[in-house]
């Protein structure tokens, strides 16, 4: 049930964003969604790609500092309250959200969210118990 996300360390200077993305592109790897966390001096680019193991190899091969992190993908209703409801469930389980972001394209009446919990196994089992819709890695939308 856990999704593998690639995090890449980048210094805050020109070219830092495009080069790793170009490296992935040249290897034929598609980025499904991403998030960019930044400070004044450096940033972390978080990517969900269509082949995370190959993505890691490509980035490591080019000398980037990349790590694979386990995150959870949760499907919610694509309507007002869709996000608020899942957040309330998460809070009721007393779990801490490190960060979250969404897939860009809703699929009809469903929106897909990525959550990073500090204990992903515990989070996934608790949320499943409360009826949340966890999405498997192989079922992520690739287009």
């Amino acid at each position: 049930m856990k999704i593998h996300q690639i995090s890449v360390f980048m210094e805050n200077r020109p070219g830092q964003l495009s080069h790793p993305c170009r490296a992935l592109a040249d290897a034929g790897i598609n980025i499904l969604t991403l998030s960019l966390a930044d400070t004044q001096q450096f940033g972390i680019m978080r990517l969900i790609v269509d082949n995370w193991q190959r993505g890691m190899d490509v980035l490591a091969g080019k000398g980037y500092l990349a790590k694979a992190t386990e995150v959870a993908a949760i499907e919610v209703a694509n309507e007002p309250g869709g996000l608020a409801r899942i957040l309330e469930i998460i809070e009721s389980c007393e779990m801490n959200i490190e960060y979250m972001y969404a897939f860009p394209c809703a699929r009809g009446d469903k929106a897909l969210l990525i959550f990073r919990f500090d204990d992903p196994d515990r989070a996934i089992s608790a949320l499943t118990g409360k009826g949340a819709q966890l999405v498997r890695e192989q079922d992520l939308p690739t287009r």
């Binding site: 996300q5 995090s7 360390f9 980048m10 210094e11 966390a37 400070t39 001096q41 450096f42 972390i44 978080r46 000398g63 980037y64 500092l65 790590k67 992190t69 490190e98 990073r116």
Partner: protein
Amino acid sequence: MTSAHIGTQSPSTLNGPDFLGHESLRKGQLARLKAIAKLAWDKVEPYRARMQNASVTPDDIQSLDDIARLPFTVKTDLRDSYPFGLLAAPMSEVVRLHASSGTTGKPIVVAYTAEDMQVWTSTMVRAFHACGCHRGDVVQNAYGYGLFTGGLGFHYGAEALGATVIPVSGGNTDRQIMLMKDFGPTVVCSTPSYFVHIIERAGELGVDLRTLPLRVGLFGAEPWSNAMRRHMEKGAGIKAYDMYGLSEIAGPGIGAECCCQEGLHIFEDCYYPEIIDPATGDVLPAGQEGELVLTTLRKAAMPMIRYRTRDITSFVCEPCECGRTIRRIRRIGRRTDDMLIIRGVNVFPSQIESALLAIEGTLPHYELVLTRQGGLDRMEIRVEVTAKDFGDEIKALESLRSRISAGVAATVGIHAQVSLVEPHSIQRSTGKAKRVIDNRNV
């Protein structure tokens, strides 16, 4: 006379001068000091002129304390006499010329007669023995061969030791590692920063240096900390020994650690050490810290009288358990010309290195960039992030940055900007590491 000749002597004969009784040692030193003062007076015009200015003649040297009457020699004296103004022997007797890695202006030239080469080589053998090396060792020499005294100094010493020598020189790290695997050296000689680089590269190549026959490393040519030593010993499964030398005196082999590793024994039958107050020039009482001054007692081609090394150290007063009677100096942590003055505060790069290494998760790849903005000095410490540091969360990296900043402020007393940079963005050294980029004088 070649290094083969030295090699036929037994270790106890060769190392004999390390263990001389004090009276014999001092008697020999005084006799040689008188001779070298006379040689300088007779043969080297700049020395005679300086001695005349100081109203001293070779006859005034009646005791070892009288050395304080002789004027100092400084680096600019060597630069001013470039190339051969300080030679005491005719060029026909000079069998070797070396030049030091001058970072400013012209290089410093050093010259050796055949006998000077013998003396230099025999001190190198004594150094190898002190560091636990012996006939039959296989020595990989990764010091640069050429005008730099390191490469050939270690080479001749290792040959005379009776070792099998791999004269690989510096650079081409992948090949160094391949040789370590395939040729199985037991001893490696290189600069400490380059060996750190070798360990790192070996890790990337999946080579575990700890499983190789490598047993001992002899490191010098730049200052390196005890923390760095532990990192090297752990990473390569070796004992890492400090070697002291400088080209102006001879090259490597001025001093070396012994198995006790509590200071470096100076081969003082050949190189007479003094510690002075760098501000006044006064000789300091034994044990007090000051600038190391060296006088060559046995060099014929280019005697050095009271050469100010700019290295800060002190004598270790207690007798060494190894039994050597030649005095020890503390490991050189800093030099007077490594010192930086940032916003009026004296800062030594080695202090910053200790602060960095004390903080968990920091590899010793860093550089200091100094700039002047709006008339104020600024120091930026660029530190490479490692896989160990990087765990996907911003706050972990921010925490690392502030810990480094706090650690440095606590150690040196000034606030520095800390920049975390990508792996391999700081230039690796194959020789001496250039850790400080001072852009303030542009």
